[in-house]
Structure formats: C-alpha cells, structure tokens
Amino acid sequence: MFPRLLYGLLLTMIVGAAQARQIADAGEGLTIEGQPQRVVVLEYSFLDAVVLAGLSPVGIADDNNPARILPALRERLADYRSVGLRSQPSLELIASLQPDLIIADLNRHQAVYPALQQIAPTLLLPSRGIEYSTVLDELLTIGQALGREAQLQARLAEHERIMDRYRETLARDESLLFAVAGAGGMTVHGPKAFASGVMRRLGLRTATPEQAEQAYIKVSFEQFAYLNPDWLLLGDYQAAQGGAEFFLRWQRHPLWSHLSAVDKRQLRRVSPYSWSLARGLLGAEQIAADLQEQLR
C-alpha cells in the first residue's frame, strides 16, 4: 500500500507543478488543464471516483434507470442528465451538455472514441471484469484527470485503513467462495474477479480452481461439489422472484447436505449488485462490511 501512496503523492507534486497535465489511459491519453467541472460519466464503475472527489457529473449513461446506481452513491449525486444506454450513449446529448471531461469505458465506447474526443478530452479506461487492484489504480487516474488527486489520495488512504481493520477481525483458515446464481446456472467468481480480489485483500482464501484464467467460471453441481468451499456467499439475481430455480433444485439434491458450507451452516446470501456490479471503492468497502456481518 505504501509504495502506491508514495508514488501517487510524487505524481501529485509533479502534476501540480505543471499547468497542462498529461494523463496516460487505455486509449491515446489526454492533455487537460485546471479542474474540470462538467464531467460526463459513461459507466457506473467510474462514478465512485468522481463522487469521492467531491464532484457530481452533469451527465451519466445510467441506462435511464438510476436505481442501478449503488444507493450510497446515488444519494450524493446532484441533478444530472441521463445520456442513455451504457452500450450506446447518445452523442448528441453528450455534446449538448458541453462537458470538459468525458470518462468512457474501453470495451463499450471504443467505437465512438474519436467522436467523444471531438466533444471534450476523453479518459478511456477498462471497466468490466477488472481486478480490485486495477480499480484502485483507476481511482487515482481519474483523480489526476479531475485535478483533485490529493482528495482521492486521502480517501484511498482511509480505504486502506478501513480494509486493514476488517482484515484483522476477518482472518481465518476456511475457504470462501462467491458465486452468482442466475437463470443460466451457477457462475463462480474466479481469482481475477473483483470480489475475489477484495477477499484476498482481507486475508481470506478463495476456493476457486487455480487453473482457471477467467474471472467468471460457469460450473455444474458436480464441479461445485468438487470446489466444496467452507463458506458459500451466494448472490442471487432472482432473489426477488423466489430464488434461481436451479438453486432450489440443488438444495433438494441428495448430496447437497454433504457440502461443507451446508454441513457447517455457512451458506450466506449477499447482494449480487454490490458484490459484482459495483466495482469501486465503496463497493469494496460494502463487501468487507458484508463479510464482517456474515462470517461471524
């Protein structure tokens, strides 16, 4: 943690000295002056950083559905204009907002990157499937672009303190597994997934197969029985509809009660939205708080 802080501080000092900052991103990089005030954010996961820097975006690609934004973030937002779907934000609307910074997703918005650059300086960063450590790096990059790095540095230091505190109380020898249940079946979050990174940060061991390179691994009951974690943290997208159907079936399976997590009564329900979709600083702290509560 310390090297990252030190490095960041150093950068702030260098950047603070120059007027126009040069920022490297996943695209062509951008040059920016002063503190942008009118920011347009095209993916949920970048909202964290902008809000924590004390700014409220003028436009958000929120799929026209503000309910998807993490409640803790939503209540800190001022009025903003929805610019449409994350997969196809409306260029006309973005241009009409006359932003001075746009934060876009590498995967989704590559097709309009030149057009966005024409409208305003554009920061292009990966979002979906990124690891926990990348989230923290991106936070600082966004801080640089906003010219409010010191603020985010401080918040990050606080985050590290919070996580360290959780780490002390959570440490244990048992294996954990976060899995998401949907209509298509069970998806286990592999070593590269955001939630797994947070759990490692908290000193916990995950029961995902080591050979798997992917962030998300689709498993059948048989594979799941083989992974056999001590704790199962289940995010069920269909909880509101009575639970994923296949999972109800699993629970009636004759081998179900032989699973460690079931045997030890260590199956816990968590929100798939904050564990899987809200990939940010607040999301990570939410995960830690959930674990604190659930693993008692």
Partner: protein, 350 residues
C-alpha cells in the same frame, strides 16, 4: 471408408438401414458410459459405474453418477432424438432441405419469453406478480408453443392451399422479430446476460426432475411421428399425387406441424435452443438409409441421441473445469460433419 462410399453413392441400400442402425447403436453404447464417467474432477471409473448401476451406490462417486450424470445423459439423448425427428418431419413436410424445427420460431419464442419473464419486464407490464415465479420449463415451453402457433397462423396454416414456402417465410419473420426483442433486453439489461448460456443451449443443469417432465411429451411426439411416416412418404410424390391417393395434404401438414412443435418445444424447454441437430441429423440419415420416412425417423432419433450424448461429453472437456453450452458443441462438431456430407457427394441431400 465404407461409410464414405455409401454416402457418396447416395444409394439407400448400400450402407443399409440395418448397418446404419448398428452404427448409431454402437455410438450410443460407447458414448453413454463415456459421458457418464468422462470429464470430472472426481475419480470416476468403471468400478464406480458398476457400483452405481448394479451395486448399493454408497460412495460419493457412485452417488454422483446416479444423481448428476445419469439424468443429464438421458435428457441429452432424448433432446437429441426429439430435435432430429422434428427436423426430419420438418424437411419432409416443407420439401425444403434447409428447413429445421427452429423455423417455427420455437427457439426464438422460448428465449424471448424467458428473457421477458426473467428481467421482470412482463411482471411490470401485466402486473401479475406470480409470473416471475413460474417454473422455467413452463415459461420456455409455453414461449415455444406460442411462437409455433403464431407461425402456423400467420404462415397460412388455416388456408386452403398451404404454401410450405409461406409457412417457412412466416417462421423466419417471427423468429427475427422475437430474436430482436430478446436482443433488446440483453443490451439494455446487463443482468439479462445471465441467460446467455441458456440461449446457446445447455443440459448442464438438468436432473431427474427434467427427465420426468420431458419424456412423456417426447414419447408421444415420437410415436405420432412414426404414424405420420407413411403419409409423408406419399407427400414426397407431390401434393396432387398424394391427394389422388386419398389423403389431404393440408391436414397432413397441419398434423406434422403440430408434432414438430410438440417435439421441438419439449426439447427447447429443457435444454434451450440446441443448434444444428435438427438440420444435420436428418441429412445424415437420409444419406445413410434413404428417404423412406418409416426408416428415416427411427434412425434419426438414434443418431440425434448419439450426437447429443457425445456433444455433452465434449462440452464438459472443452474448457475444463468450466462448462461450455452443449449447443455450441453440436454446431462446432455438427457443421464440419455437415460440410463433409455435402462435399463428398449427393448423399440424398439435394
């Protein structure tokens, strides 16, 4: 080589019905144990298989075989048989070698209703809260059946002269419409992408419950198909000739359409839209045993079952330990097979 020459010659008798049936049975006899034991992180061997099937099945491995593997393999086989027979019927009825059960909009209908229900949109529109708690099978099954009925209606299933072409075009249009709706939801709602695996066709989540829900419908459909075999043979002579022999081509087409919908809807309800089986297997069987539907239909059922059993095994091995949807595997292995068939010779294809 013998197989190749039989296909090349395109003669119904060369490889023969008995020979081809033998081949299909052989594929099944080897394939089923392989699928029961292969591709597991647990140690599964013949001893465990023996214990599971004939012993007291106490060990974990035997339990797994009996409660996870066996229903999965059986469901896969039955789905394959249903789709292959539905495809053979469809091609016989429309006299179009490109026809497949998917043309009734069955896959698209099942997928569309599933995504609508899962995303909660349908509940929001109709205000019926219980809608999203319906069993998956009921949702997909009724989606498939509704789409099939719609195609039949719009395709002029009630008209005096049924144009097979019109039926097929209506199917294409309805499928495109429903697929577009499904895609809208997938793009608008990240969460809906959970069903992407289902959309590719998968038997990974099937157990004994699905088996019990599946077999009555499919059995009924298969028996009905056999009854329609001889009339379909007459239809192949042309509408006039068939009418001259005292059967109504209209009524026959309607009956066949209903059986296709029953078979394909049952299959898609359980396994999702498994690709290519309904197209490939009838072609293969026509090449092996000729166009007589009385022989073609049972053979198609056997080969369809064998293809699915093997595809299921491969689907587990492809990106082990992760599951790959079986529909992707049937297309990946089915398409080159189909290419080989078409490139080698006539094979009764055209």
């Amino acid at each position: 080589m013998k197989l190749a020459s039989a296909i090349k010659a395109g003669q119904p008798g060369q490889f023969g019905w008995f020979g081809s049936t033998g081949l299909a049975v052989l594929l099944l006899v080897v394939g089923i144990p392989a699928a029961l034991l292969g591709g597991s992180s647990f140690q599964l061997g013949l001893a465990e298989l023996n214990e599971a099937l004939f012993g007291d099945a106490r060990s974990l491995a035997a339990q797994l075989i009996l409660t996870v593997r066996l229903p999965r393999v059986l469901v896969a086989a039955l789905v394959g048989a249903a789709l292959a027979v539905a495809g053979a019927l469809m091609q016989g009825m429309t006299r179009n070698p490109l026809a497949s059960p998917g043309l009734f909009g069955i896959n698209a209908g099942a997928a569309c209703l599933l995504v609508l229900v899962q995303s909660g949109l349908l509940t929001g529109l109709t205000g019926l809260a219980g809608l999203s708690e319906l069993p998956l099978l009921l949702v997909t099954g009724s989606g498939a059946a509704l789409a099939g009925a719609l195609v039949l209606l719009l395709g002029g299933g009630w008209c005096r002269p049924i144009h097979p072409v019109r039926l097929v075009l209506a199917g294409v249009a309805v499928s495109a419409l429903l697929t577009a709706l499904t895609r809208t939801l997938l793009i608008v709602d990240e969460q809906a992408q959970q069903v992407l695996d289902w959309l590719a066709g998968s038997v990974a989540e099937t157990g004994w419950q699905q088996w019990h829900q599946l077999w009555p419908g499919v059995l009924l459909g298969l028996l009905a198909a056999l009854l329609l075999a001889q009339p379909l043979n007459l239809l192949a002579l042309g509408d006039e000739a068939s009418a001259g022999l005292g059967q109504s081509p209209q009524r026959l087409r309607l009956q066949v359409a209903l059986v296709v919908i029953l078979l394909a809807a049952s299959a898609v309800a359980v396994a999702g839209p498994v690709a290519f089986v309904g197209l490939l297997v009838p072609h293969l069987c026509r090449g092996l045993a000729g166009g007589d539907h009385r022989r073609l239909l049972p053979l198609a059922a056997l080969f369809g079952a064998a293809l699915m059993v093997w595809a299921d095994l491969i689907s587990r091995l492809l990106v082990f330990p992760s599951e790959t949807p079986v529909g992707i595997v049937t297309a990946l292995i089915g398409a080159p097979g189909f290419l080989w068939l078409t490139c080698r010779g006539r094979g009764g294809l055209v």
